[in-house]
């Protein structure tokens, strides 16, 4: 059958379909006691703040991958989260009607959707953004998220009804070979996305999701604007390219003058593990294990964790799987517990050790046991200084004692401290003598050093990875790690940009961990620069008070131009 639509982006491909169907939104209704209203408002406010942080991260990723021009969709959504008509009104409704946060949000969204529909056709389209924001906040309040995990193996033809901006940002587009949607038109954000990624694309097909099943072979013609659901019968397929994944480069990245730089991947979900190998990463430099906390109020079972860590580590062996222990907040321990007034500076991670010891003990025990069989590294987040370091290390020893006396096999893996609080950066040498490695988390280190919340659009422009203070701190950490003779790595978005990676290597970092989708870019950037040039460029700008990504790039270009 031939299904027609708008020809959005050119190219003809034959490939296996992956049909994305979004889960139905479920909004739980609850009445609450008057006394519980402040707590319910806190709960909503925490979710709204977390949603802003998520969106700021997605925005950064999209602007890196598809260009700044598309990132504005997230600005609009971030502003909606702070809008009195959305956030303010929902918070008021909780108190006025004594209803749960989820229901209050959905009442407000229903009202706004009606108003939008009346305003104009152009504006009515913005209901998508509103729904997107609503789904995100509902998920953070404890609901379920849609599943957009693409199957491993060959590239696929992505077929969906439509794709919200946040969904689009969560997809690993390197696995998508063509893109088809029931809705959409040439000006839709899906069209912009497909063109910017040069993906053959047909939109407005109306019945694609109804007629195509996952795994079926389909032909997408982005020139003529159609999809064939049974291609061999209707078209000569022998001259059409089949989707295959190009083999990624493997092993460490090399600078032009042959210095090895280890590139690892940051992942969030077990389903990301396929991307690690596909991207040519040397294992996982950061597995954010918080997804295991999605069942609020209950620590995940130790044996289930052991099984998960073993499976993930085997998938990337002989390279290591680095697991960051839970970076949790009080709301993870008990859904109703009020969040800190300022979560970034509040009770986080090991600061909750006395209250959440089940969480940490179970996780560390599982990791110690997994390390007996597979290459694992443990990374402790949010270490502020030597006191916390001692606390953590004595907990590890205590758990090893427990495992030993219960006769369970275990092994101590490499233990690392995350350097993301300025205090930790300033005592990095002392920390380096206690741990096996240090890992700089640039996102938080920048935020805390500059006192800038990048999710806040009013100050987000002040979030500057190349701020002289940040770069000098990064430089000091290298000096400290050399004095302590301890391994050093970076995970954080800074490592994922061209200038960021070149600066870090110039400063002396030799191991970078980043989103799998950025590995190719960084590998290429490194291959066309010499170490000595990066070091020279760093020494030229590091004392400069007007240091920026641009000034570093210019210094490097000037040095390279003089070859």
């Amino acid at each position: 059958m031939r299904l027609s639509g708008f020809a959005i982006a050119p190219g003809r491909v034959l490939g296996k379909a992956f049909v994305f169907r979004r889960a139905e939104r479920q909004v739980p209704f609850r009445n609450i006691e008057r006394a519980a209203a402040p707590q319910e408002r806190d709960r909503l406010q925490t979710a709204l703040r977390a949603a802003q942080t998520e969106l700021a991260d997605l925005r950064a990723r999209l602007s890196r991958e598809a260009g700044e021009a598309h990132a504005y969709l997230f600005d609009a959504q971030i502003l909606m989260l702070q809008d009195p008509l959305f956030a303010g009104r929902s918070l008021t409704l909780i108190e006025e009607r004594l209803i749960g946060a989820e229901w209050a949000l959905s009442v407000v969204c229903d009202e706004l959707r009606r108003l939008f529909a009346r305003a104009s056709a152009v504006i009515a389209e913005r209901s998508h953004d509103l729904d997107d924001v609503l789904d995100r906040v509902l998920a953070l309040l404890g609901g379920t998220k849609g599943d957009l995990v693409l199957p491993a193996g060959e590239k696929i033809v992505l077929i969906c009804e439509d794709l919200k901006p946040s969904e689009a940002a969560e997809i690993d587009w390197s696995r998508v070979g063509a893109f088809v949607a029931d809705h959409g038109s040439p000006t839709h954000h899906m069209a912009i996305l497909a063109r910017s990624r040069a993906l053959p694309c047909v939109l407005g097909v109306r019945t694609a999701t109804a007629h195509v099943a996952s795994e079926a072979m389909v032909l997408v013609d982005g020139d003529a604007g159609f999809v064939d659901t049974n291609p061999s019968a209707e078209t000569r397929t022998d001259e059409i390219p089949r989707l295959t994944l190009p083999r990624p480069a493997e092993g460490p990245a090399l600078t032009e003058d042959g210095v090895e730089i280890v590139l690892r991947a940051n992942i969030e979900f077990p389903s990301d593990i396929g991307m690690v190998r596909d991207a040519g990463a040397m294992g996982v430099g950061l597995f954010r294990s918080e997804y295991l906390l999605s069942r609020q109020g209950r620590a995940p079972a130790e044996d289930a964790q052991l099984e998960l860590y073993r499976r993930l580590a085997l998938a990337v062996a002989p390279h290591p799987l680095t697991v960051r222990t839970f970076d949790l907040g009080p709301e993870d321990l008990a859904p109703a517990s009020p969040s800190s007034p300022n979560p970034a500076l509040g009770l986080r991670a090991f600061r909750l050790l006395s209250r959440g010891s089940d969480y940490f003990r179970g996780q560390i025990r599982a990791l110690l046991r997994a390390a007996d069989e597979v290459p694992i590294r443990i990374l402790f987040p949010f270490v502020g200084g030597v006191t916390e370091a001692d606390e953590i290390l004595s907990l590890v020893e205590q758990l090893e004692g427990e495992l030993r006396s219960s006769g369970r096999a275990f092994r101590r893996p490499l233990l690392g401290a995350m350097i993301e609080i300025p205090s930790a950066a300033l005592v990095a040498e002392s920390l380096g003598r206690k741990f096996d490695y240090l890992c700089v988390g640039t996102n938080d280190l920048i935020q805390y050093t500059l006192a800038v919340d990048r999710a806040d659009p009013r100050v987000g422009h002040l979030y500057a990875p190349f701020h002289p203070a940040v770069v000098r701190l990064l430089d000091d950490i290298v000096t400290a790690s050399r004095a302590a003779e301890v391994a050093l790595s970076v995970c954080g978005e800074m490592a994922a940009s061209r200038e960021g990676a070149l600066l870090l290597v110039g400063l002396g970092y030799r191991e970078l961990s980043m989103a799998p989708s950025s590995i190719r870019l960084v590998r290429e950037a490194l291959a066309s620069s010499r170490l000595v040039e990066m070091e020279q460029a760093v020494s030229r700008v590091i004392k400069s008070d007007s240091l920026s990504a641009d000034s570093f790039a210019c210094a490097l270009a000037a040095i390279q131009g003089a070859r």
Partner: protein
């Protein structure tokens, strides 16, 4: 209170990107900012409010600012709208 009437010159009108830019700019000032179009009056720091105005291409809208930096706020916001939110090609 200061007020100024300006025309929307970008072809898509007061849509999401434009509204997001407007709110970001308005939020730099402490003054209360109001945008009026036809019979609707909305908070200039609320993106949903601005979207609901649904002011199209060529619409004439009134900007109001009230507060310590009302003059600067009005000047900056009027300039932003007149420049088509940076979306109209310069000639």
């Amino acid at each position: 209170m200061k007020r100024k009437t300006v025309r929307v010159v970008n072809p898509l009108g007061f849509h999401a990107r434009a509204a997001a830019r407007f709110v970001a700019e308005a939020s730099r000032f402490t003054s209360q900012v109001t945008v009026v179009f036809k019979d609707k009056e909305m908070d200039g720091k609320s993106i949903l409010g601005l979207l609901l105005l649904a002011a199209p291409f060529q619409a004439s809208i009134q900007l109001r600012a009230e507060g310590g930096d009302e003059k600067e706020a009005l000047r900056a916001l009027a300039a932003l709208v007149a420049a088509g939110f940076g979306e109209v090609a310069k000639r």
